[in-house]
């Protein structure tokens, strides 16, 4: 993974000094709340329900063992010994003290980490596929370009105070796993007819309260121009995006208001002037960064491993886990392994310091000392030998990191919600936990198969509920907490936004509602059809009918 040189290091060190000074000025009253807000936000510090929340950047989800050990230590020393991995591949601490943040940043800088631009109205952490570099269907490893873009966007002076936050995702696979269409800018790298690295650029996607999927603004962009083309897009947005209403300030609103053709015309007009400017990426720079992402020193292995096959045959628990948690790898005899942060009954995405230390050790022992955070809020060891998977499983299981539920219903994506977040309409974590307990029977869970369930505590959509096969949104009705259910959303190449099935439910009803949706699926599915495919084939009507049947009946009897 990328290693800092003096230039990278000086930037994070100077950031610590700058932020220490800003915090000091705030605490002595030389900066007002309003003035300090964008400064702390651009350093990932929110003021939340119980305490500030600090979001630490994990660029495109990559971590080293050393970094994860450090995160664990920081969580122990400055927080309640756990951290939360987010859908944007970052890590959040829920209970740090504002006064301690400069020290936390100094600790992070020691392991080449920071919290720069993890929040606020600026270009945020650039995200990508958690299987980058190891996925068999990968055309281009997007990480080098992601790093080049990270550097470009870090303290970009022109874009320091945009109308609203700005998120970029990149992907280099045929099957999109980075949800590029749900980002302000999405970039899909591919090899063009001349076998040159090229980029398909999407613009104006985003979830939040006005969910919109991005539109292609350019089918073919030569990689050298990635930065200048983004500058053209962000400049048009910076100048013309709305600043009078935070809910209408994202680029998606501008793109929609202007229409993609007019927006594109303005961007291209701007780009005429920016193209070939010094920010054009050089071969040498891409090569310099790319050497940090060279393939690991893999052993030459057979496709099969006898000890693995034997363990699968003799140990059903291991087999169940392996089925969900091992992912294809481009090298024979290797697998990418997902460690689940979705143990039933725990807050999705939370990891204790002890677990973090354990994962860091596992990564060191089995996966070249590196790991990734996925936007599904799990941790991934990307390069594990098939012959090591059994030993890895035993150790992960001892740490509660081996729930065999990856990609299944209980692998819930969930925002912090009302337990932590001051913007929440409703709690989300307890809903996730209740659903996990409802579906605690493993055979049943595996029978239901692949299913994505996403929960957000309000329409800001931090839990990506719009693109969940089943989406749950917390809403506020006369001061009490209710949940609206959507069906048919999905990420990936056929990204779609879910449809609301009808009136909302109380918290107690939710596990039962999900149960009913599943029962419709189980009785209607054709063969191997996944939940989402059944929803697509049948539409929401039969699901709706079944879920509301009791309610309607109850109403008819005058009970409700």
């Amino acid at each position: 993974m990328y290693k800092y040189d003096e230039i990278d290091q000086s930037l994070v060190d100077e950031r610590v000094a700058q932020y220490r000074d800003q915090t000091k000025r705030y605490l002595v009253g030389q900066l007002s709340d309003d003035e300090f807000r964008p400064l702390r936000l651009q350093n990932g510090l929110y003021i939340q329900r119980h305490a500030p929340m600090l979001r630490i950047a994990v660029p495109y989800g990559m971590l080293s063992s050393k970094q994860l050990h450090k995160l664990a230590d920081i969580a122990s020393k400055y927080d309640k010994a756990y951290g939360h991995f987010s859908t944007r591949q970052n890590m959040q601490l829920n209970w740090p003290l504002l006064e301690d943040v400069p020290d936390i940043l100094a600790e992070l800088a020691k392991v080449e980490m920071h919290a720069i631009q993890t929040s606020g109205n600026c270009i945020r952490n650039i995200t990508t596929d958690q299987f980058a570099g190891v996925a068999p269907d990968e055309v281009v490893d997007p990480r080098a370009m992601a790093e080049v873009m990270r550097q470009w966007s870090t303290f970009h002076p022109e874009f320091a105070l945009l109308p609203r936050k700005f998120k970029i995702a990149v992907s280099g696979t045929k099957q999109d796993r980075a949800i590029v269409q749900a980002h302000d800018i999405g970039m899909e790298f591919y090899l063009d007819a001349q076998q040159q690295l090229a980029i398909k650029v999407w613009v104006g996607g985003g979830l939040g309260r006005t969910p919109i999927l991005g539109t292609v603004i350019r089918e073919h962009l030569e990689w050298q121009h990635a930065l200048t083309y983004c500058e053209a897009i962000v400049r048009v947005y910076n100048l013309h995006g709305r600043r009078d209403n935070a809910y209408k300030a994202r680029i998606k609103i501008l793109v929609k208001a202007l229409g993609i053709d007019e927006f594109k015309r303005q961007v291209e007009e701007e780009w005429v002037h920016l193209k070939d400017a010094p920010n054009t990426i050089t071969e040498a720079e891409l090569a310099r960064v790319a050497q940090h992402f060279e393939p690991m020193p893999y052993e030459v292995l057979a496709h099969h491993d006898a000890s693995y096959d034997a363990a699968i045959a003799s140990n059903p628990a291991f087999a169940a886990w392996a089925k969900r948690s091992l992912h294809a790898h481009k090298m024979p005899g290797y697998r990418a392994v997902t460690l689940s942060l979705k143990t039933h009954g725990q807050a999705p995405g939370d990891a204790s310091s002890e677990q973090m230390h354990a994962v860091a050790d596992l990564a060191a022992q089995y996966s070249f000392g590196e790991l990734r955070v996925s936007h599904e809020q799990n941790l991934i060891l990307a390069d594990v030998k098939l012959s090591d998977t059994f030993a890895l499983w035993e150790k992960a299981r001892a740490q509660g990191l081996a729930s065999p539920n990856i990609g299944l219903l209980t692998d819930i994506i969930c925002c912090p919600g009302g337990d932590f977040c001051s913007l929440a309409n409703a709690k989300s974590i307890p809903i996730a936990q209740a659903i996990q307990m409802q579906f605690d029977n493993l055979d049943y869970l595996h029978d239901i198969g692949e299913l994505e369930l996403n929960i957000s505590g309000c329409m800001n959509a931090c839990g990506h509920h719009h693109i969940g096969h089943i989406g749950i949104l917390g809403i506020d009705k006369d001061g009490s907490e209710w949940y609206q259910v959507t069906l048919g959303g999905s990420q990936g190449n056929q990204a779609s936004l879910g449809t609301v099935i009808g009136p909302s439910f109380s918290a107690e009803e939710m596990p039962h509602v999900v149960e009913k949706l599943i029962s419709v699926y189980l009785s209607e599915r054709n063969g191997e059809e996944r939940f989402i495919d059944t929803v697509r084939r049948l539409g929401i009507a039969p699901f709706k009918a079944h879920v509301y049947a009791d309610k309607n009946a109850a109403k008819a009897e005058g009970i409700a």
Partner: protein, 203 residues
Amino acid sequence: MSHLITLQADVAKITEDAWQFVALPPSQQEVRKQAGKVVLFKLTGEQTVTPEQIAGTLIPANGKVMVPLTVFIARKTELQARLDQHEVGVWLDTHESLTDLNQAQEDLNALPIIAVHVERFADGRIFSLGTLLRSRYGFKNELRAVGDVLRDQLFFLKRSGFNSFAMRTDRSATEAIASLNDFSQPYQGAVDEARPAFRRYNR
């Protein structure tokens, strides 16, 4: 004491202000909110200037004056002699258009100073305007940030081509100078240094 920081050959100093800032008289009209229409995006929520305001703007008879863009455009003939004496500068708001400025004044370098007025420090349009003035319009003279100008934006302003900063007067300008150099080796090329780190250093 002056709150004006100027950069001369990269050295920041507190200097006396030679320019008189000419403000528009307050408008009698209600502020237009929520323009909604696409063409009005730039103006959304901002005040538009009325002909009465332009006519009623008092321009001091002597000395160097920095006038609002709308006044400059409408009353240029009246200012022409002083313009020739290099005694007229222009300031614009962040929602105003550089095309308008350039149409009224083809040779921007005839203006000894252009200022961008930022009403709220969090309005980042100022950075794009500075960048465009320097890189697109080739403006070489004094480029000043005025209004809600605070220390923590100085580094970005400098990188966007500004070389003078009228700091908000309730804060220390002397202390603010340090923030011009918050970062020593920025990654990306910008106005002050067009080459990104990867072209400046053999990394």
